[in-house]
Each structure stands twice: as C-alpha cells, then as structure tokens.
Amino acid sequence: MSTRLAKQGRLIDRSKQITFKFNGTTMRGFEGDTLASALMANDQMMMGRSFKYHRPRGVVASGAEEPNALVGLGEGARFEPNQRATTTELFEGLTSISQNHWPNLEFDVGAVNTALARFLPAGFYYKMFIHPQPFWKHVYEPIIRHSAGLGKAPDKETKDADTYEHFYAFADVLVVGGGVAGLQAAKAAAQSGAKVLLVEQTSHWGGRAPVDGGTIDGLAPDAWVEQTLTELKATDNVTIRTRTMGSGVYDHGYALAYERLTDHTPGAPGPRHRLWRIRAKQIVTATGAIERPLSFAGNDVPGVMLASAMRDYVVNWGVTPGQRVIVATNNDDAYRTAISLKKAGVDVLRVIDARTSGGGALADEARSLGIRVDPGKAIAKVKGGKRVKKVAICNQDGIGGAREEVACDAIAMSGGWSPVVHLWSHCGGKLIWDDALAHFRPDPARPPLGADGNGFVVPAGAANGPVSLGDVLADAQTAGEAAANAAGFTPKTADAPKGVSELELPLEPVWLMPANADMPLRMKAWLDFQNDVKVSDVQLAAREGYESVEHTKRYTTLGMATDQGKLSNINGLATLANALGEDIPQVGTTTFRPPYTPISMGSIGGEARGEVFQPIRKTPVHEWNDANGADWEPVGHWRRPYAYVRPGEGVHDAVNREVKNARENLGLLDASTLGKIIVKGPDAGKFLDMMYTNMMSNLKPGKCRYGLMCSENGFLIDDGVVARMDDDTWLCHTTTGGAERIHGHMEEWMQTEWWDWNVYVANVTEQYAQIAVVGPNARKVLEKLGGMDVSDAAIPFMGWADGKIGDFDCRMFRISFSGELSCEIAVPASQGLAFWEALIEAGKEFGVMPYGTEALHILRAEKGFIMIGDETDGTIIPQDLGLNWAISKKKEDFLGKRAQQRSHMTDRNRWKLVGLETVDGSVLPDGAYAAGEGVNANGQRNVIGRVTSTYYSANLDRGIAMGLVLHGPDRMGEVIEFPGTDGKIYKAKIVDPVFYDKEGKKQNV
C-alpha cells in the first residue's frame, strides 16, 4: 500500500492538516501536498483510467509531465477537467473526481475495450474510415461514442467564476526554470546589469537538486538555493515569479508565461491566471530534464512509477508509493531512489540493473545499505491489475524466458533522462543526438534566430545535456553570461559555484526490456500511458509503411495525449527507429509546439470577455434608440436598430409600420454609421477618378454623385454618395461596414502607387451625426424648425449646402436611398442627439417615426437599389448589377477597369441582376437557388440563378426580391423555380428590379 511516512517531507507542514474529497470520499493531507501526494498518502494509487482501453492508471510522475493522474477539479462554475494531480496544490475543501470510467473508477464497463484490444490496433481511426456506412453506424460509432473525450466538458450554461488577465513585460534576459541552473543563470545574467525575469512553474525553488543531494559551494542544495534566492530578491534588476510556467517561445524573442495565482486558494481576490506576454532580448531555458520510463510488459500497472518521482514523493512529501519496492534501471541515478527509500525505512527488495557491469559509486552505496543489486537483469512482466502484485525477472539479453517471480507492491523505473528541449525548439532551435547519454539536446550551432540573425535562446543546465551537479552549475554560469552578453551587457565573469555529486557511470540505452521481448510482452509494454500506445503498435505502424515519425505519431496517437509525449517521445522514436532499422537521429523527433503544458482558455482570453470582449461603437443617438424600443442588430462593430418596436407590437409589425410611414408621412433614420471620408488636395479629383468607376473630378462643388468602387480585380467593394465640397475637397460616403476598410484602401493606393500625387485622406466618420429625414413631410419638418432655405430650388435633388436648421449648424444633402423626398443632414457629433430630439419633437404633427435598418433595406429594395454585401459577395462586378451607367467610358484608367476586360468578366453567361416576383405573392427564401435543366458532373441539378435580397413589402403587400439570373435581363416575364430548403418549390417571375415609383418622381420634389 502507499502511505505517509513518519518522517521526511521537506515541502509539507505536518502541523497544518487539510481536508479534501476524491470521488466523494473525504481524505486528509497536509499543507504543501500536491493532490497526487495526498491521494497516495491515503492509499489511493489508482487515479484514473486510460483513454482508449480504460485501463487502471496510477500516478507515474511528480510534475508537469504526468500523463495519468488527470482529474476533474472543482465544482459548478469552477469545475475544470483534465487537471494534473501532480501539479495541483492541495487546499482546504478541494473536490476532485477521476475520469474515463463508467460507472465508477473501481469497476469500469469500458475496460472491456482491453479485451477488444486486437480490434483497436494502431491506426484504428484511420482504418475505420474505409469501411462502408452501415459498419460505422452499428459497430464503430457506438464504441467510439462511448470512449470518446477525455474528462468531462464543463456545463455549457455555467460561466467561469474566475477572472483572468494579460500582462505585458519586457526583459533583457528571461530565465525559464527555477532549479539550481535557472537560479545561477539568472544571477550570472543579473550581475551584468541586465533586466532579468526568472520564472518557475512550481511553487518552490531549486528543482531536483534538493532531492538529489550533493553539495554546492559546500552547502546542502536547499541552503544554497535559499542563499541565492535572497541575493536575487535583493537585486533591483531581477524579477522572480513562482507558479509561472514558461509556456512558449515565439518569433523575435516573444515568449508567453502562464502564472497560476489563485489555483491553490480558489476564490481569493484577483485574477486566477495571468498570461505574461513577454518580449525578451535573450531567453535562457533552464527547464531541466525529464526521466524516461522503461518499456516492459505491465509498465502501466498502478504502482509502477518513474524512479525520480518516487524519490520526490519520499523526500518532498513524505509519502511512499509502496512498502516493498523494486527498482529497474539502466543508469546510476535510479540508485538514488533505492537509497532514499531505504533510508526512509521502505523495503527495497532489489535493484534490477540492465547493465551487465552494474552501477558505480551509488550502486556501491546501495549495496552497503544492504540492497540487493542484480546486474544484467530485466523486468519481464509486471503482474497485477489495479495495483502491482509481483514482477517476473529475467535476463535483459533475451526474449523474457527463465523468469523469477518476486512479490512487491511498487516499481521504480528509470530509462535515463531527456533534456526538456521544448522551449528551445518552439521557434526553430535544432537538436543533436548525444550517443553517450542517449538523448536529444540543443545543437548550439543551430539556435532559434532573432531579428538580427543571431540566436536568442540559450539552454542551461540539464536542459542542455549536462547531468552532474558540477557540470549543471558551470553550464548555467556560462549560459547566464552568454545571454547577458548577447543582450548587450558586459557580464562580470565569475567562477560558477562548485557542485559536488557522486560520480556516475554511463547509462546503457534500453528501449525494450528484455531486449528481445516476445510479442505477448511487447503487446503489454506501454509507450504512451494515456493514449494506450504500446511498443507493438509502433512496430505495426512501421510494418505498415509509416516511416515518418510525424505520420507514425498521428497513426498511432503516440505522444498526442495531454502530456504531449513528454514521457513517451524518445522511447517511441527509438522503437520506431529499431523497427525501421535506422538510427534514432535519422528518424528525428516530432515537432515541439507551445504551450509546454496546457494553459487555461481563460488565460488566453484574458480580460476580453462579456462586455469588454469587443467594444461596441455607438452613434450619438444610441442611448435614445435604446430607450425607444430599438431591436439591436450588429453592423460591423456598431449596433443599429433593426426596428423600433413599440409596446405590444412584434418586430415585423414594427418594420411594416415604419416602411409605410416613411412613404406616407415622415421617417427618420440614424445614418451616423455611414462612412465619411474627406479626400483633399490638388490631385484629389485625379485620385478619386482612379478610386471610383465613374468620374468624380468633374463633379461641381455643391453637387453629389453616386459612385462605385472596385478592387483591382474588378469586383465591387463599396458604394456611396460623393459630394464635392470645394475646388480641392471631396467628401466620400461609404457603407457602414466599409468606412475603415475603404479608408485603408485609399491610403494604400495613395501611399504605395500614386505617392507623388498631392492628396490626403481623412476618415471623419465619427465626427458627424447624420440623420436622414425621409418622406413626403420631410421638407415640412425642416421648414418648421427654420433656418436655411431647404426648397428644391435652393437645394435640388443631388445637391448639398451648409447652413442652419433651427439652431443647429448642419450640412444638408438632397440624396435618397429610399426613393422618397429625403434630406440627409449632418451635424457635429456632439449635437447629434439634440438635433434628433428636435426633429422628433417638431415632426410629431407630421407623423414622424424613426425607422430601423430593416425598413431601410425594404425601402431600397422596393426601389431596386443594390446593397453591398447582399447583391455583392466579392465576386460581383458592377456590370452584373446593371450598373454600367455608373462606369465611365471616358476615363482611361480606374481601379478594376483592366480586370473588367478579362474574358470571364465579359462572358455573356455571367448571372445578371433582375427583380423577382413570386407568382403567389409570397416571400422567396433568402439565398435560394433557381433550378435549371439537367444535372452537373456531380449529379446535382444545374442552377441558373440565386436570390440576393428578399423581403415582404408592406407598401406593395407582396414579396419582392432581387436576384442574379443567367441571361436574366433577356428573360423578362419568364417564371423560374426556386426549390426551398422547406421542400416547397417557389415560382417567381423575372421582372424589372424597380418595384416602386419607376420614374423616380417621389424623390425629386
């Protein structure tokens, strides 16, 4: 059984007991425990089940690399799945549940998948795609549905109770990792005067050194860490942070760090997570190394653990995973575990050392403590289901025969160490294979490069390959100085602190235990514990032709678990390399991608949630609109009233009322969102002639002209009315959504093509409120307010003038998007609301009603006016819409002119705009396609047109629509069919798109 030891536990405070829950059972731990150490102290070794076979899973590691011990943490608005028990600090009241099982952790129906293992081989997901549909429906889908998903998604109606934030930071040197290497590198860099930021993912400093022992400058590692921390804290140019993981390294020294502020004190004030967005001149990766598992049969049974993790649990948390332990290793370091356990009073039955030569000084120390060491031996198989019961021991050099069985309840395994090269690799740092240590380490000749072409990441300590304490500290000193130097500082060269640890003999790579294990053993030797990928799966993939490591990863799902292959990576590569008969460096690694370990979605979002997710643009009339029944519609970042709904009225009733009233009495439209761009300068006319398809340079001051804008590809991108202010000034109106885009479009051509033309562009959209006064009574209300002469003689249709209406300084444009008598009146934005309210008040006797965007759409559709985004979709040219009249034939050039001469653009089979009138007066479905004769190459009905705008017109009391139809203008009167998604066939007659006041008399009075 796993239990708390009477002594040991450097990180726990035995005077502070903590109560927590796991699967509803109340348990006790101490302050300083992780959830994993506390569960083990309560003899809860099994913490979850695997993804595919639902096999029992116990904790295997002690840190961020843990693949198995994933739990659902918290409740309600603070529930979160897939949290690693090994990195979850225990707190009072913590609740956790295990995952991937039904009905419970101890008894799981899905574990039957294990029995079906031969039906779920490598590449299962790929292979099943080639089967016919019935197989899918009746065989695969029920199985997959049951096993799919890791953990439980939080309830979709529940909102995260916590807050998150982003934090921008700049550093000369960012040091990632607070082990002894990180501390020393930070110190060395800081001595140059460089601004240093040091981050450590756990809540404590010093990394592995205090557990692994040795001395630094004659001090115990713990004491040296304390001393160095004190120095760093007293250094002004150093910032240090615990619980902050260096998550990713990106282009040009950009880095993300993920700070977990209140995970250990839920509900405490302030943000839960903080995402540090860092720009560093240099980044030191002192990220340490991760121990590799050994691949032997049954290495996934709860109770089998990394040797270093077992040592951590004993030394840091005073917990032992078992009472009778066997250590399996191919290196000297694992003897430290045997020694630690023995000294803590745990029975260490023997060390199984795959090396025939056995170990060095540490092995001697183990023997002197009375521990039996078996060189040249291997674990053939672990027996036990939910817990290790015994092991079968054989020779390493063999197929696994002649076994000796030994009863035990925990196994510590060590296959050597792999430097954590993730951050080095994120932005292109390359690796080299170190034969002696059997691992990939950073290639100093090929670092990730910054903007200046020089490397900006410096690996330090175990992350760079060195193993012994002395080498680690010397490397860290060098790295810290190098980083400071590269960041433009002059390092004070100093001797590294002297680290002393036992001399270790070389390891011997062991990729399979025993070396020639037979098939039944290989089928039980796990590489990826979470995703259930075994040695046999990778070998199968190789036999099936998967030579690329990236393909094999996806085919077998090796390394695709939430630990992202931290444990399985190298063993998997080695297995693949052996199966392919190649060397490991030739096979290479899969790509390391950020984040190093998963970070919360909340931290990525930061403050951007709810109301501040995206600021809303508001017109000066917004609050009035809101108070007067506005049914809001998002238009770009604006909110515009779709309609003004009165009490007791439906939205569509409101729209119909507004549409009729604008034609019969007086409508007001808040048109402030329309883009307003001033183009000014001696060459402004010439410039606008390039921007618009029609001529703008010959527009007279005081006059307005409707204009079309095309991209250089010929496609229509915007439209609007242009007014000439004076000799060298034009005001261009754009669509609501187009203001910023068109302003940018003009700037681009002005700056990058015609930069020698004397012209300037300014976007003044928000400087003005603009109100359309529409309807037969429009002039009456303006005359009542008094001021400028608004007669047709003074300001005729398509004219404009500056003046006063009442007390308001204004600019009045006689333009109409409704076909009615219409004045669009611009006032300074600050006067917008007052002017609007004055119009509402004065308009009462004339039947004034504000109208929204839907009424605007219907009014323009009744008149056959096109709308950018309805009639256009980025593939439409003005000629398609019958707008040839707005394309100048006199101009030699304008944007889009040449493109519109291309053969496809002049094809007479391009669909053209027509009006559509349903035979029965109903409303055509939006976007419906017209069906033609015959079928296309895919056996689908040919289509001959589509609906672009469709509305119910209250004024005409029938459905009206516009659409693009093959040879449409030549087919007036013809009835075509639109099959609806509702199964009905809608019949519509092709008609002129102008449904109302064809002569245009009403706007011109």
Partner: protein, 109 residues
C-alpha cells in the same frame, strides 16, 4: 510575432500593430496591358525560402506603409524602408548581401 522597425515613426512595432501586405515592388499593369502581363500583376507572387521583400503597414500605429527585407526561413530582418521606392535602397541591398551573399529576388540582387 515579429517585430519590425517602422521607418516612419521609428517604433519597433510588434506584429499585433502591423498588417501584412504581401509582396513588395509589384509593378502595376492597367488598361493597355496584355492578358499575361495583367495576370502576372494580379496573381503571380514570389514564395521564396530565404530573402523576401514584403509590404507591411503600421496599421495600429502611424498608418504608414513600408517595406521589409526579411528571410522567410530564419525570420532574420535585413532592414525596413519606406514604400515610396521602385527598388530596395542600396543600404538595404548591402545589408542583405552581407548576410546572404549572392542573393537575388526577382530582378534585384
């Protein structure tokens, strides 16, 4: 997340402040050009692994368009320069040559 120096306002701008504008030094072909010229102008672009000349706009800054000479493989930036030129200035060419002797890009080298 590149940083590029804006030659107008002098800011070392983070990529979040910048809009990418594709290839630089494209000669416009308008009315009168033949179909092939016009097609190449609209659609044919360089896609080098190595030296590239690009257009960028300091969109969330001073609003100016500028050009960057950059290595697409290593992300090294050789220099940035105003967009109002028909070819990279000599100092930019020299900076590229110093790091990538024998480079060429379209008609420039």
């Amino acid at each position: 997340m590149l940083t590029l120096h804006c030659p107008y306002c002098g800011v070392n701008a983070d990529e979040t402040e910048l809009d990418a504008g594709g290839e630089a030094h494209i000669k416009r072909h308008g009315p009168g050009s033949d179909d092939n010229q016009f097609h190449d102008y609209l659609f044919t672009r360089e896609n080098p692994k190595g030296v590239h000349l690009e257009r960028w706009r300091h969109a969330a800054g001073c609003g100016k368009w500028f050009h960057a000479a950059r290595c697409t493989a290593t992300l090294e930036v050789f220099g940035t320069y105003p967009a109002q030129v028909y070819e990279p200035p000599q100092d930019i060419k020299d900076a590229i040559s110093a790091k990538r002797p024998g480079w060429s890009w379209r008609e420039f080298e």
